[in-house]
Amino acid sequence: MLIFEHSRKNRRNYSQAPAARPARNNIPDNLKRRSIPLLPEVSEMDTVRHYTRLSQKNFSIDTEFYPLGSCTMKYNPRACNALAMLPQFLSRHPLAPEDTGQGFLACMYELQEILKDVTGMAAVSLTSMAGAQGELIGITMIRAYHEARGDTGRTEVIIPDAAHGTNPATAVMSGYKVIEIPTNRDGDVDMDALKAAVGPRTAGLMLTNPSTLGVFEKKVAEMSRIVHEAGGLLYYDGANLNAVLGKVKPGDMGFDVIHMNLHKTFSTPHGGGGPGAAPVGVADCLLPYLPIPIVAHEQGVYRWLTEKDRPQSIGRLSAHMGNAGVLLRAYIYVRLLGAEGMFRIAEYATLNANYLMAELRKLGFEIAYPDRRASHEFIVTMKEIKDRTGVTAMHLAKRLLDKGFHAPTVYFPLLVPECLLIEPAETESKETLDRFVVAMKEILDEIDTQPEMVKAAPHNMPLRKIDDVKAARELDLVWNPAG
């Protein structure tokens, strides 16, 4: 039932609004609203009930194992939420004077310093509100760099075919042409293709390392040399930083600019689709172009750097300073972890992934890159199974839901057919992984004995398989009281 179907004309929540319409109203008649907006008229209790019940229809980290590759679904510590929501933090206006926010700004400054250290970059801006925006900032800075040098012929950005969709989308949004290069059989970038692609039109290369194939790009140093020699810069998509946190620093790998998804590696919640935060780090060459605001610490006082301090800045990407509350959560998380905790994340995320890969291999699942270590994730391909039985990666994914596990990422990266990208994250226990292996074994058996049942999954969820073809064909995007 939709919230609108609980609605009844003229019902009101008396506690939640001023007691009466005020007498004074100076809005000119021609600017007044005449229609009543379609907001529900529901009691407070029924609102609470409706949304509490809706929430129960979600899978989530707090209720299920969620091995969604490339998404780093790990535990979001409850302390981060509680402390970031202290009333003083929540009530602080973004334009309140800096001297009324020294406590908050201290957290932001320290977070910048910690992120610099962890990534090996020269400076960090916290402003970006998600990975894709971090990419846009990064590529915009690369453009600013070339422009500042009068190097205006660079119109291309090179991107491996395994890259996340945001990479090519960002390059285009930044006004570049995308040059896609292939991956070799081992899951590494094809070096010959890279060499062939670089040239005077190369503005830069975007790379995820470990890549979205779940392997570490071993020749990253050589790639860096090739691109730099061609006059391009290197962008690091830090979505997979969790796999190497503290162990390998993007700065040491030769990257000029990076973003890190705090909503992955630094465990801020995904919230059903954000908000995230994706601070951007730069090497010295890009320092002048960093977006504002940035927190400075001068004579014991924290303050925002603005355009005045940073005349070459590419500018601003949000009305204020980005997703401050998300940054606070990440700050609390890193302080809980401490330096030792950082390394351990990478270690145990990697251990979990390699263990799960080993166990699934033993069951007979085909590993896409069988000769490689898993980073914090790995790929199973269902190609052979599909050819044999007709059961696809998506069928298996839906059947996993029936067994109380969220599905892995399916059909990404695009180059591996019928792929399941599986990322268990370090916060899952061996027992949970073992239970997942049991479920995968059961499904493997079911595929043999009752493939049609598997194809018709899910069976135990509140709804059966949702018809998304119909959703796109018969667009129904807003509710209409007329029905």
Partner: protein, 451 residues
């Protein structure tokens, strides 16, 4: 090892299964020279007890103030139910609802949200959020250029939030889109037909129309929308969602209505929180829906014909269309929209109207009181919603400092954004302000002006 559940036995068993001697061995594909492992700026870990104390101390240090600052972020009462439900694990710790069957909670909520926002803006359809108001405006500009095809120029009044204008420029510049600014009438603080007509001979993909504008002033939106449409430009509305409870919605502006409406969603139940996370909303006409960036949810059915919800029109998005997507946006502000949807449900149409009307009435009352003080006058002679600009006869920065010393945050110094507008304050009194609060402001301002 905070948040890592492995015991030593677990590790041994797992390594045995993998066939590795140590965890370190799992990193053997990483070239040794790249391995670093030195962290010098990361302090040692704290227990939850220790970090709690630190954060309480920092929060206490920042304290509470009686604030009359608006300028794009507004203090409204947020019902306690909003965040108690929003932070339930099932909303808080779930991912983007790719697996529809395991995400009906989030999906249905977003569909409800789309319905509310489309109705509030008077548009046909809404997406499920963008990052914030400023970046939503930039996306709208890009969308207009995509749609318009022949012009790559955007017309934007100087009455639009100055930072929004800055963000738009940062983002659209990469695509060689030109942003042209329209001055305003210094007497009214509005864009007038005369100012616009300077650009009558040029082609633009869109005209951006703020309502209310950055000064809190109400623009002549019918005239502006019609002007844009008359020259085949799109009309992009950038609006305050609370105000829409009182004000004519963009969909009804002029003869045709605006084509795209965007804005900052923060007033709908999102805490001020030093600037974020907020969310940007975007609604548009049906014919533009395939140009819209961001997630869109559709209502459909399951195998058995039961009502269900799913992400739809994904062919617009980067994860399907990659370099041909309408935008690179992926993660957006889902949880904020969750809060906003619950907020709008709790308020209902009458509740939201009263919040808007009381904010308007409070600002009217405050301006009236302050105008009576010697050395204070209204800067613009136009109707306003819940913000207004005051011209002071003395240095305004010093006045603000004096107010702050009394626990009052007296507004924003306009000079920071408009260097010509000296000694002017942009002030705001939402429904959270009582008559005593208005008196308090009046009193401390009087003292500050005379002392």
């Amino acid at each position: 090892m905070p948040f890592i559940p492995h015991t030593e036995e677990d590790v041994a068993e797992m390594l045995a299964s993998i066939g590795a001697a140590s965890i370190d061995e799992l990193f053997d594909e990483i070239p040794t020279e790249l391995k670093n492992g030195q962290l010098t700026q990361v302090p040692v870990g704290m227990s939850e007890m220790e970090i709690s104390r630190l954060m309480y101390e920092r929060a206490q240090q920042d304290g509470f103030y009686l604030s009359f600052i608006g300028a794009g972020a507004y203090e409204h009462h947020i019902p306690a139910a909003v965040w108690q439900i929003t932070t339930r694990g099932e909303f808080y710790s779930s991912y983007t609802p790719y697996q529809a069957e395991a995400s009906q909670g989030t999906l249905q909520l977003l569909y409800e949200y789309q319905t509310m926002m489309a109705s509030l803006t008077g548009m046909d359809v809404s997406n499920a959020s963008l990052y914030d108001g400023a970046s939503a405006l930039a996306e709208a500009a890009l969308m207009a250029v995509r749609q318009h095809k022949s012009s790559r120029r955007i017309l934007i009044p100087q009455t639009v939030h100055p930072v929004y204008r800055r963000v738009v420029r940062t983002i659209v510049r990469n695509q060689a889109i030109e942003v042209v600014e329209v001055p305003y009438d210094p007497a009214t603080g509005q864009v007038t037909i005369d100012q616009l007509d300077q650009f009558a001979q040029e082609e633009f993909a869109a005209l951006i129309i703020p309502q209310p504008n950055f000064f809190g002033v109400l623009e002549q939106v019918d005239m502006l929308a019609d002007w844009a449409h008359d020259k085949q430009s799109l009309a992009i509305a950038v609006v305050n969602p609370t105000a829409l409870a009182m004000l004519k919605p963009p969909g009804e502006w002029g003869r045709q209505g605006a084509d795209i409406a965007v804005g900052e969603g923060q007033p709908l139940g999102i805490p001020l929180s030093s600037g974020g996370p907020y969310f940007g909303f975007m609604a548009c006409k049906q014919e533009l829906v395939r140009q819209m960036p961001g997630r869109i949810i559709g209502r459909t059915t399951d195998l058995e014909g039961k009502e269900g919800f799913a992400l739809t029109l994904q062919a617009r998005e980067q994860h399907i269309r990659r370099s041909k997507a309408t935008s690179n946006i992926c993660t957006n502000q889902g949880l904020m929209v969750t809060a906003a949807t619950i907020y709008m449900s709790l308020l209902g149409p009458e509740g939201l109207y009263r919040v808007a009307a009381q904010s308007h009435a409070n600002t009217l009352a405050l301006v009236e009181r302050l105008e009576k003080l010697p050395g204070v006058k209204k800067a613009f002679h136009s109707p306003f919603f819940h913000e207004a600009v005051l011209q002071l006869s003395v240095p305004a920065d010093q006045v603000l400092d004096k107010l702050r010393a009394q626990g009052v945050l007296g507004g924003v110094l306009l000079e920071n954004y408009y260097p010509d507008l000296k000694n002017m304050l942009l002030i705001c009194a939402t429904e959270t302000k009582t008559a005593e609060d208005l008196d308090k402001y009046t009193e401390v301002l009087q003292q500050a002006l005379t002392a």
